[in-house]
């Protein structure tokens, strides 16, 4: 394995940035209307369970990424097939996230720019990041985390100062009972963002040995859960449930209301900053995992070709996966969670864990 070494703080920052990813901008759980915050406060619990499964898998093969230990558990041929599918899955999710970022940018500040230009620029930066290696990426994560925290705090302060928060928008609580809430949690809010933690099965082998991964990961998930809850509560308070459900990017809409002293207004650059930073980290992580997986699967040394190749695919498929933003969203809400996420995030890892445990028991019994 590469000798990159990631410490606990870097892992924490990466998980937080990764989970924030596009979640901060999208209308998480808006189907539950004013109860969306209950969705965001409950789904981290599911996230913790999922992460625990991935952690158990990692403990069984602490030196190997997912795409490698699949082969150990399922044998060479079936394992290679599954790991190849995972690589495709990572590329696909990377293009989905990239498409989200592109659509966000197109929606307001870059209405006249072609969507592929935005994608190409991002991919060039990403290829540079992948070229520098994961340790550098993790270190940059800390800086991005600091910048993100400051920006989010600033926006929060501006919301409060410009007197946008109407707490009455949160009522009535659970008007339609628990059903819509659970329908939101499973599968959509469980899979995005928490189920996407599957990529950390590729990254955990790069950790320093003595790091308390489970503790760090749980803290990060809890942190994200709390922040996303605050975020969605703010959005409900500012926009109201109706507007929240209707608008494609509620964060952008909410920031538009900020007006302080007639001078601090139009804070879109802050939002662009967040979009690009978070999108960059998220796409970057998927990208990086796809590259590691590819290099391992085809037994290649880290090379520039793979990353350029992969970057090109991500860039092009980000545009090809959907003809319009609406169909992109529909796929994301109705197709992908059921057909892809449940299989790749829950079914396969759980099956692997069970199989690996049985294999181990069997081996122990034999000895």
């Amino acid at each position: 394995m590469p000798k990159d070494k990631i410490d606990g703080l870097q892992l924490f920052c990466l998980i937080v940035l990764f989970l924030f990813g596009t979640a901060v901008f999208l209308d998480l759980g808006s189907g539950a209307r004013q109860d969306a915050w209950i969705v965001t406060i409950l789904s981290p619990i599911a996230g913790l369970i999922i992460f625990a499964v991935y952690y158990r898998l990692y403990r069984q093969h602490p030196d190997l990424p997912l795409t490698e230990y699949v082969k150990k558990i399922l044998g060479k041929y079936l394992g290679s097939l599954i790991s190849y599918m995972y690589i495709i899955y990572f590329i696909y999710i990377a293009s989905r996230v990239l498409r989200d970022v592109e659509e966000l940018l197109i929606s307001s500040p870059y209405a006249k720019t072609s969507i592929i230009t935005l994608g190409i620029c991002m991919v060039f930066a990403l290829v540079y990041a992948v070229h520098l290696g994961f340790e550098v990426f993790a270190r940059a994560g800390i800086i991005c985390f600091a910048i993100m925290t400051v920006t989010l705090l600033l926006i929060l302060i501006f919301y409060v100062i410009s007197d946008l928060i109407h707490l009455e928008n949160l009522r009535p609580v659970l008007a339609k009972g628990w059903k819509p809430v659970f329908r939101e949690i499973f599968p959509v809010n469980m899979t995005v963002p928490y189920g996407e933690l599957i990529i950390f099965t590729m990254i955990l082998p790069l950790m320093k040995r003595k790091t308390k991964i489970l503790k760090t990961g749980s803290m990060a998930i809890a942190y994200v859960g709390i922040y996303l809850t605050i975020n969605i509560m703010l959005l409900i308070c500012i926009l109201g449930a109706d507007l929240l459900e209707r608008s494609a990017f509620p964060a952008l809409a909410a920031v538009g209301y900020i007006q302080i002293g007639g001078f601090i207004q139009r804070l879109d650059p802050l939002i662009i900053l967040l979009i690009v930073f978070l999108g960059f980290i998220k796409v970057g992580l998927f990208f990086y995992c796809a590259v590691i997986g590819m290099n391992n699967l085809f037994k290649m040394k880290p090379n520039v070709f793979t990353s350029y190749f992969m970057g090109g695919i991500i860039c092009i498929s980000s545009i090809m996966i959907a003809p319009s933003y609406q169909s992109h969203l529909d796929e994301g809400l109705k197709v992908v969670p059921y057909f892809l996420h449940i299989a790749f995030q829950f079914a396969i890892p759980a099956a692997l864990l069970v199989l690996a445990s049985i294999q181990r028991k069997w081996k122990q019994g034999k000895v």
Partner: protein, 477 residues
């Protein structure tokens, strides 16, 4: 045949005449090689050889010539001239040597060579004194309050200035010669027990590997020591202030001092260090924290101001408050060029002015400032070639670059600024942010002698953060 024979062996012969001939031949009859023949009692012969200009004439006369002459007249049987003469010289460094290469290098560093008839060895007396200027106030990194002495071009003087500040036997100084032609003296200084062993070892190894003809300034060594050559950011700190060097040594850094330049090289260097002025530690910590934040702020203004202006004016009109937009557009109405051309021309004009300001003779300074300020600034705006806003932006950029104590980091910001301008012109804030991400990644990938460049920010070192962007006062225990 004869010459070949000598070169092959490289040892002295017993004949004084052939030795002198060999030396003269080695120096190509250089006019500053001075040879003085002396007759000793009992038909003994000796020669005193030195190179004019690099020896201390006073010391040569009082401590070498005078004792030998006074003593040569004493009539007494001498068994071993060489040992006797070595005894009577009143200089602190005396060596007896029979290798030509060492004699030549001794002569070149200012030693006086004494050859004696019938002896195949020479006496080297340390009389070297290299001319140097007196200790003056440093011209860079000036402070209002604090020590006023600066390094000179002389290695010995510089080491003495540091020794005077750190009177501790754990201060280690290791001297070597580097440069195949110049044979420049290089001193490696560190505090035993504070500096990390592996870094010291690494630095020594890299210095040993230096394969250059000449070392005339710290930058020659810098280039050889760099981990990552493809970077615009300074990976080592330069200082001509002994107090800065002393403070860094006490923090566990290693300092390299080079004969012939008043700048010492401090390594490893961290990004954050380039915003720290020595004065930060001589003033109240609240004040110095504020000033440090101002410096960090001006660094970013210097890098980003023009790019952000360009992004706003070309891509994001909607983000400018309406009243400001009206003012800006009114100014730009009569300007015939696109904003990027206007900005680049003004930026380049300022770079030219700045370069001219450094190179021109002092006497014509006022003329250049008049031309620069009046013609480029006022007249260009009045003629409608550039908008006033651009002049303000470029001026702000320029002024903010002067707040930083280290010129190397300013140069890095200058380079980044131009790329950011292009990124902004191409795709606005998106370009600026993406390129900034690349800069962050690049900075994270840099290492200075194996230590990550962004320490203590990333990887985080809590103890280091107390003296990073702000300085938290130290309480006396």
């Amino acid at each position: 045949m004869f010459r070949k024979h000598y070169r092959h062996h490289k040892k002295l012969s017993k004949s004084i005449a052939s030795n002198i001939e060999y030396l003269k031949e080695q120096f190509g009859n250089s006019s500053d090689l001075s040879v003085r023949n002396i007759f000793l009692s009992n038909h003994g012969k000796a020669a005193i050889i030195h190179i004019q200009g690099i020896v201390d004439e006073q010391s040569l006369h009082d401590n070498v010539l005078h004792p030998i002459l006074a003593w040569s007249h004493e009539q007494k049987p001498i068994q071993n001239w060489s040992r006797e003469i070595a005894q009577i010289l009143s200089v602190s460094k005396v060596n007896t040597i029979d290798e030509w290469s060492e004699i030549v290098s001794g002569l070149l560093s200012g030693d006086t060579v004494i050859l004696i008839e019938g002896h195949s060895e020479a006496i080297l007396a340390g009389t070297g004194k290299i001319q140097s200027r007196t200790i003056t106030e440093p011209s860079t990194q000036t402070v209002v309050k604090g020590p006023k002495d600066g390094f000179t071009e002389n290695l010995g003087t510089n080491i003495s200035l540091i020794r005077a500040r750190i009177q501790n036997n754990n201060l280690r100084i290791e001297q070597t010669k580097v440069g195949k032609v110049t044979k420049t003296d290089i001193g490696i200084l560190y505090m035993e027990g504070i500096a990390k062993e592996e870094i010291i070892k690494e630095v020594k190894e890299r210095i040993c590997k230096i394969d250059m003809d000449s070392i005339l300034d710290t930058n020659y060594v810098e280039e050889a020591l760099k981990d990552n050559r493809k970077t615009i950011f300074p990976l080592f700190q330069n200082s001509e202030r002994p107090d800065v060097v002393a403070a860094n040594l006490l923090e566990g850094k290693i300092t390299i001092i080079i004969q012939g330049t008043p700048f010492a090289l401090i390594l490893p260097a961290f990004f954050i260090q380039f915003f720290q002025s020595p004065e930060d530690y001589y003033a109240n910590y609240l004040v110095s924290s504020f000033l440090r934040l101002i410096r960090v702020g001006s660094f970013y203004v210097n890098m980003y101001a023009s790019a952000i202006y360009l992004a706003l004016i070309t891509h994001h009109h909607g983000l400018i408050p309406t009243t400001l937009m009206v003012t800006l557009m009114a100014q730009r109405e009569q300007v015939p060029f696109p904003a990027i051309v206007e900005l680049l021309v003004m930026e380049l004009a300022f770079e030219v002015l700045r370069e001219a300001g450094i190179r021109m003779p002092r006497a014509i300074g006022p003329a250049v400032s008049i031309v620069g300020a009046l013609i480029l600034g006022q007249a260009a705006v009045e003629a409608g070639f550039v908008s006033a806003a651009i002049v303000i932006i470029v001026a702000t950029t320029a002024i903010s670059s002067f707040t930083l104590p280290n010129p190397n980091i300013v140069n890095a910001a200058r380079g980044m600024r131009f790329i950011l301008i292009f990124a902004a012109a191409f795709i606005g804030f998106y370009g600026i942010i993406l390129f900034s991400l690349c800069i962050i990644l690049h900075l994270c990938s840099l290492k200075s002698v194996g230590v990550p460049y962004l320490t203590p920010l990333s990887p985080v070192r809590v103890s280091g953060l107390k003296d990073s962007l702000v300085r938290i006062g130290t309480s006396s225990k």
